[in-house]
């Protein structure tokens, strides 16, 4: 019995240590290669959808028209969401703009990333505020209530939150004099990804992988499915796969789960898969490479950043058809520049196709043949002729 007890105790310890390992994963702040390349790469090769109607979204980040503002002695803090630096998408885009502001404008700042589960988002915000950061970027919709609480406690600190506006604990959106919210029309870009998937698919079957099942990611799914059906009414869209459900946010940073899901979808006949799963997307690219044969070339579509460039691995690049560009870097840069120029305005700022905040990537040249179709749909969306839903059809 005693011996048994000991083994079991050891087993319990191992469970725990494993759990602890899982816990640490992803909460890191190490800089990975690719974090820096994102901006410049995206800037070089981006075509903003909508043809001539809007200026290139690229380039804007690094050189915001005119003289760079002077940030000497000013502090801007960065609170990443789950995944932190190195996710090759959402967080790296924000990091790129922030790094650029440090290098070009001379600001100083501190950065924090939450645990894998994201429970300490609010503590991170409060730490940055206590450390005296004048402007704090809260990079993620999950900060909505945290920004409301911390923003109320620190009325002299400015906040800029990505993807959502601050809400109190009854979910009433609160207008706060010190908070700007940076909102994107992801469904518009995702619609174009659906069009690209439908036009490029030879099997007639496409799929979607979401990181965490939340209303934000449902927007991506809704846009993608509508776009695919618009381009080809006979397209077979496999049921969307979500890697985790709230309150488990690890789905945004779990390439292994991403790969499993992708293998399953490709196995069901899909030959183009779009992901909105942050760092888990890497697993999709690997799956595409693994299952591709001489007869069938499988495609994957990236998200947020131009993942053809941010992934950088030629083996995987072959499979990255395009990426839905969500210019978090543009929004973060704008927030910092406005703040430095004393032009920081609170309240919502919307960035869609028309504003150059959403677009698609052309790196690799895989969508050159359908660019006219994509731009045509983009123009219709901008003109309001197509209204893209933000929730998937039941």
């Amino acid at each position: 019995m005693k011996r048994n007890l000991r083994y079991l105790a050891l087993f319990a310890v191992l469970t725990l240590v494993l759990a602890a390992c899982g816990d640490g994963e992803g909460g890191d702040t190490t800089t990975t290669a690719g974090g820096d390349t994102t901006t410049s790469a995206a800037a070089d090769t981006t075509t903003t959808a909508g043809g001539g109607t809007s200026t290139t979204a690229g380039g804007e980040t690094t050189t915001t028209a005119g003289a760079a503002p002077d940030g000497t002695g000013r502090t801007v803090g960065m609170a990443f969401d789950v995944g932190g630096r190195g996710d090759l998408s959402f967080n790296d885009l924000a990091a790129a703009a922030w790094d650029n502001a440090i290098a070009e404008y001379g600001i100083t700042g501190q950065e924090l990333a939450p645990d894998a589960g994201g429970e300490n988002r609010e503590e991170n915000l409060r730490l940055l505020a206590e450390a005296g950061q004048e402007l704090i970027i809260a990079n993620g919709f999950a900060f909505a209530q945290n920004v409301w609480r911390v923003g109320t406690e620190f009325p002299d600190t400015m906040f800029a939150i990505t993807d959502d506006c601050p809400q109190d604990d009854t979910f009433t959106v609160v207008e706060m004099p010190n908070v700007r919210c940076m909102l994107f029309s992801e469904e518009q870009g995702s619609f174009l990804m659906g069009v690209a998937a439908a036009l490029k698919s030879t099997s007639g079957t496409v799929g979607f992988i979401g990181g965490v099942e939340t209303p934000l990611i449902l927007k991506f799914q809704a846009g993608f499915e509508t776009g695919a059906a618009a381009a080809n009414p006979d397209i077979n869209i496999l049921p969307a796969v979500y890697l985790t459900q709230v309150p488990d946010f690890t789905g945004f940073n779990d390439p292994v789960k991403g790969k499993e899901a992708a293998l399953a979808l490709y196995g069901q006949g899909a030959d183009v898969i779009y992901h909105a799963a942050g760092g888990s997307g890497l697993g999709l690219f690997e799956a595409a490479d693994e299952l591709s044969t001489d007869d069938s070339h499988l495609w994957a579509i990236g998200v947020d950043a131009d993942q053809y460039e941010s992934v950088g691995d030629p083996v995987l690049q072959e499979h990255i058809l395009t990426s839905m560009l969500k210019r978090v870097d543009v929004a973060v840069d704008k927030a910092i520049v406005d703040f430095l120029n004393d032009e920081f305005t609170p309240g919502p700022i919307r960035l869609g196709l028309a504003e150059g905040g959403i677009g698609y990537a052309t790196s690799g040249g895989f969508v050159d043949d359908i660019a006219a179709d994509l731009d045509g749909y983009a123009e219709q969306i901008i003109a309001g002729e197509i209204e893209v839903p933000t929730e998937p059809a039941a």
């Binding site: 019995m1 048994n4 979910f171 209303p215």
Partner: protein, 372 residues
Amino acid sequence: MKSGRLLTTVVAPLIALVIAFGIAALALLLVDIDPIAAYQEMLSFGLSTESLIITVNNALPLFVSALAVAIGFKMGLFNIGVEGAYLLAALFAAYVGAQFSITPILHVSAILLVAAAVGAFWAWIPAVLKVKRGVHEVISTIMLNYIAFALSAYLFLNVFRAETAGLTVATDLIPETGWIPSLNPILAWFGIEARAGANLHGFLFIAIFLGIGYHFLVNKSRFGYDLRSSGANPTAAHASGVDPKKMVIRTMLISGALAGLVGIAPLLGFYHQYPQDFPRNFGFNGIAVALLGRNHPVGMAFGALLFGFMQRSSLILDLVDVPKEIVTIIQGIVVLAVVIVYEIISRYVNRRVIASAAAATETAPDAPPVAA
């Protein structure tokens, strides 16, 4: 004997701590970081008033979780299912608590009751499986964790979710009568003023009460005697009239009820609703705390405070460019080390006891082999 117990209960954890911090220091040196500076940074940040309050707040759920695990340990039952039980219980408690508003004390009691009932029910399943079908509780509770995660995610997203304007998902806000007030006004009496965001949870009193209750239940009651004797020697306990099946069911029900209360401190003291980022891992870390505290309420309180302190003080590390994962390493090693060191010391103590017994009888022919 007395000195032997002191040796094992106090010295073993201390040695384990030294080993853990030592190995972590080596790891830091490997990545060219000065460990002394890093530890100093943690200490000076961790000892501020706000940090100490948050340390206690962090420790509360860990302590309750450790109690839930420890009561099973006492009779050789391994309830690994605390993690799933508390998430499910907190979700139900948040939902039910938001449906009505009555006198504060009654409202809080009702919420506690719901949480404990859900937790107890969740632990009852593996208990029945074990008693009726002989399914080992380690397997069934681990598997039930995954069911609990999936079930709570489903209920959260589809049934208990409040109508929200933005992208955030959460349950409805519990009316103020269901909140457990902060103890900061009491701290203020003593001249301790904390900055915003650091509110000492009133759940502290409930946790202390649970710790005392645990002590009396295990050490001073008939049930506790049966519990400990079943753990020490199930066959002998059975022979003396203890029904092992009843003991398994009862112990798991108590363990589950405690597990249900794990999430109450953050729920009623901070969130006042079940949010999408409700804190996780208290269940798993509670196992570590129970091992660290050797199932003793005071020991587990210290273990929980230690973990709570490390969790809080690690936050500063990112700001000074030290990977805060180092704290996860420390936590892992300290638990492994405490098990090993305890084993070594108890062997040493056993040998000393045997030697002194042999010396006392003088004519003892051969010392019996050392019990492993």
